[in-house]
C-alpha cells in the first residue's frame, strides 16, 4: 500500500512537469512582450524592467530559474500587482476560494447522492421524474446563468440574501455563492448516483440480499451503497476541477476576492506571471486530489490490487 502511494506520487511528477513546461512555453511564445501596451519607456528603463523580470536571459535559462522557484513555492513577481509576488496573491486569495469550493462539494455530494438514491429506488415514478427533471435542468443551465438569476430573484427582488460580498458578512453572504456552485454538482452527482445505483440494484448480489429478507434499508445501506458510490468517488477529481472553474464565474458575479477573481483579472490584464502561477497551482492541486481519490478507490474496492 505505502509502495503503491509512493509509486503514484512519483507517477504524478511527469504530469506536473508537463504542465509547467507547457504553460511556460505557451506564455513565452506570446507575440509581443508583456509591457508593449504601456506608454513608451526610455530604453534604459525598459532594459531595467527586463532585467528585473529576467526577460533578457535565454529561454532555457529563464525556465530553469522559474522551475527552481516553483519548486520552492515561488512563482515570481506579478507583472501588474507590482508590490506583490504571485505566491503572496495566491496565499491571500486561495483560502476563500477553497472554503467555498469545499462547502459546495459537500452540499453537492450529500444532496446529490440522496436525490440520486431516492430516484433509483423509485425508478420510473413521479418522484424519479421530478428529481431527474431537476437534475437535467441543473446540468443544462450554465452556472453563469444560474448565479445571476439567483442574485436577481433571491437578492434583488425578494431581498432575502445579500447580493454582494462586501457590505455583508458571515454565513449569509456565503449562501448564494455556495448554492450557485453546488447546483451543477447536485445535478451531476444525482444523475451519476441514480445510474450506478440502478446498475447495482440489478446485480445478482442484491437479489441475494433481497432473498435474505434484509429489507430495502439494509439492502441499500449495507449492500448497495458502497459499490454504487465508486463512480461518484471517481467523479470527485473532475468535480473539484469543475467547482474551481465555476468559482471563476461565481467570484466575479458576487464580487468575491478569491483566486478565481484574480485569475480572470490577470487574464484580461495579460498578467502572464499571475495566470501562469495560478494555472500551475490549480494543476498541482487537481493532480494531487485525483491521486487521493485513486487511493481511496483502492481502499473501498477490495478487488483492486496494489501493484
Amino acid at each position: 500500500m505505502a509502495q503503491y502511494v509512493l509509486k503514484r506520487l512519483l507517477g504524478a511528477i511527469p504530469t506536473l512537469l508537463f504542465v509547467v513546461v507547457l504553460s511556460f512555453l505557451l506564455v513565452h511564445a506570446a507575440p509581443g512582450g508583456p509591457f508593449d501596451e504601456e506608454r513608451v519607456l526610455p530604453d534604459a528603463v525598459a532594459a531595467n524592467i527586463e532585467a528585473y523580470y529576467h526577460l533578457d536571459e535565454s529561454l532555457p535559462k529563464q525556465f530553469v530559474r522559474y522551475l527552481s522557484g516553483v519548486l520552492q513555492g515561488d512563482f515570481g513577481p506579478s507583472y501588474r500587482y507590482r508590490d506583490h509576488t504571485v505566491s503572496e496573491l495566491i496565499a491571500d486569495a486561495f483560502p476563500l476560494s477553497i472554503r467555498l469550493g469545499v462547502m459546495a462539494i459537500i452540499v453537492g455530494v450529500v444532496i446529490g447522492v440522496g436525490l440520486g438514491t431516492l430516484a433509483a429506488l423509485k425508478q420510473n415514478t413521479v418522484t424519479d421524474r421530478v428529481a431527474m427533471g431537476f437534475a437535467m435542468s441543473g446540468i443544462s443551465i450554465p452556472i453563469f446563468v444560474i448565479a445571476p438569476l439567483l442574485v436577481l430573484f433571491l437578492a434583488v427582488k425578494l431581498n432575502w440574501l445579500p447580493a454582494g460580498w462586501s457590505g455583508s458578512s458571515g454565513v449569509s453572504r456565503m449562501l448564494l455563492p455556495v448554492i450557485a456552485l453546488a447546483l451543477p454538482q447536485i445535478a451531476y452527482i444525482s444523475r451519476l448516483t441514480r445510474a450506478s445505483m440502478i446498475d447495482v440494484l440489478g446485480s445478482g448480489f442484491i437479489r441475494t440480499a433481497r432473498a435474505q429478507g434484509l429489507g430495502t434499508y439494509a439492502v441499500v445501506r449495507y449492500h448497495a451503497m458502497k459499490p454504487a458510490m465508486l463512480p461518484v468517488l471517481s467523479y470527485m477529481g473532475p468535480a473539484i476541477a469543475s467547482v474551481l472553474t465555476g468559482s471563476v464565474v461565481v467570484e466575479q458575479i458576487f464580487g468575491i476576492p478569491g483566486l478565481g477573481q484574480f485569475f480572470v483579472t490577470g487574464a484580461l490584464n495579460r498578467d502572464y506571471t499571475l495566470v501562469l502561477g495560478i494555472v500551475i497551482f490549480y494543476a498541482a492541486l487537481i493532480v494531487l486530489l485525483n491521486l487521493i481519490v485513486d487511493i481511496l478507490y483502492g481502499v473501498i474496492d477490495p478487488r483492486v490490487r496494489y501493484r
Partner: protein
C-alpha cells in the same frame, strides 16, 4: 444498409430523441433564416432607443441592448456562433478521439498502455485554465476556440472508443475473421467500425453540449468571441450587467442557451438508452 434503416426506425419511436432533435433542428433553421428576414442587423446602434423591452415595434422582438442594438438578431447570430463552435469542436474531438482510441485499442499491448497513460495524464489537468491561458496569449483567436475545445473533448471519446475497440478485438467473430486471414483493413471496416458506430454517435451528442458550455463560458468571461461579434455566452454577460434594469437581456439568451443544452443532453440520453438496449439484447 438495412442496419441503418432499422436504427432509424427505432430512433423514430423514441420520444425524447424526436422532440429534442426537432427543437434543435427548428432552432438551427430559425437562427439561419430569421436574421435575413428582419429589417434590423446586429451591428446597427440606435442611441435613441436603448434598453427597450421586447415587443413588436420595428421588429425588436427581443428588445434592444444598452447600445440600442436589436437583440433578436443578435441572439440569432449568437446561436449561429454557439452552434457552429460546438459542431466544429465536436468534429475535431470526434476525429482525434476516434482515431487515437481505435488505434490504441486495436494495436493493444505496450503501445496501448503508453497511449492511455498519456490520456490519463492529460485527464488530470485543469484544461479550461489552459484554454484561458491560450486565449490570453493568443489574443482571443476565433479559430483557436475550436481547436482548444476540441482538444479538451477528445479525451473522453478516445477512452470510450479504445475500450470498445479493445473488447471488440477480443470478440470471437473478430478472431474467426482473423484466423481466416481476413485483412486488417477489412476487419476494421466490416467488424469493428459498424459495432463502434453506436457509442460514437452517443458520445458525439454528449460532447456537443460540453463544447457549447466551454465556448459560452469563455465568451462570458470576455475571453472568447469579441465584440461586435457575439455568442450566447457574451450576450448573457451583457445581460448580467443590465439585469436589474433590463432583465430580458439576461433571461432570453440565458434561456435559449439552457434550452439548446437541454435538448442536446436529452438527445444524448435518449440515444444512449437506444444503444444500451441494443447491447443488452
Amino acid at each position: 444498409m438495412s442496419a441503418v434503416l432499422r436504427l432509424y426506425r427505432r430512433i423514430r419511436r423514441n420520444r425524447a430523441v424526436n422532440v429534442s432533435g426537432g427543437i434543435l433542428a427548428a432552432i438551427a433553421v430559425l437562427a439561419v433564416l430569421l436574421p435575413l428576414v428582419s429589417q434590423n442587423n446586429y451591428l446597427e446602434t440606435d442611441f435613441g432607443r436603448i434598453l427597450e423591452a421586447p415587443g413588436l415595434a420595428d421588429m425588436h422582438w427581443f428588445g434592444t441592448d444598452d447600445l440600442g442594438r436589436d437583440l433578436f438578431v443578435r441572439t440569432m447570430m449568437g446561436i449561429r456562433v454557439t452552434l457552429l463552435v460546438a459542431i466544429v469542436a465536436s468534429i475535431v474531438s470526434l476525429v482525434i478521439g476516434v482515431l487515437y482510441g481505435a488505434f490504441a485499442g486495436y494495436v493493444g499491448g505496450r503501445v496501448d498502455a503508453v497511449m492511455m497513460r498519456f490520456v490519463d495524464a492529460l485527464y488530470a489537468m485543469p484544461f479550461i485554465f489552459f484554454v484561458i491561458l491560450l486565449m490570453v496569449v493568443f489574443e482571443r483567436n476565433f479559430l483557436l476556440i475550436f481547436v482548444a475545445i476540441g482538444a479538451i473533448n477528445w479525451l473522453d471519446m478516445a477512452r470510450i472508443v479504445r475500450g470498445q475497440t479493445l473488447s471488440l478485438r477480443e470478440r470471437e467473430f473478430v478472431e474467426a475473421a482473423r484466423l481466416n486471414g481476413v485483412s486488417t483493413a477489412r476487419i476494421i471496416l466490416r467488424h469493428i467500425a459498424p459495432n463502434l458506430m453506436g457509442v460514437v454517435i452517443v458520445y458525439v451528442t454528449l460532447t456537443i453540449p460540453q463544447a457549447i458550455l466551454v465556448e459560452s463560458f469563455l465568451s462570458f468571461l470576455g475571453l472568447g468571441i469579441q465584440e461586435p461579434q457575439t455568442s450566447l455566452g457574451a450576450l448573457v454577460n451583457a445581460g448580467v450587467n443590465q439585469m436589474e434594469s433590463a432583465p430580458w437581456m439576461l433571461l432570453i439568451p440565458g434561456g435559449l442557451l439552457a434550452l439548446i443544452l437541454m435538448c442536446f443532453n436529452f438527445l444524448g440520453d435518449g440515444l444512449r438508452d437506444l444503444f444500451d438496449a441494443r447491447q443488452n439484447r
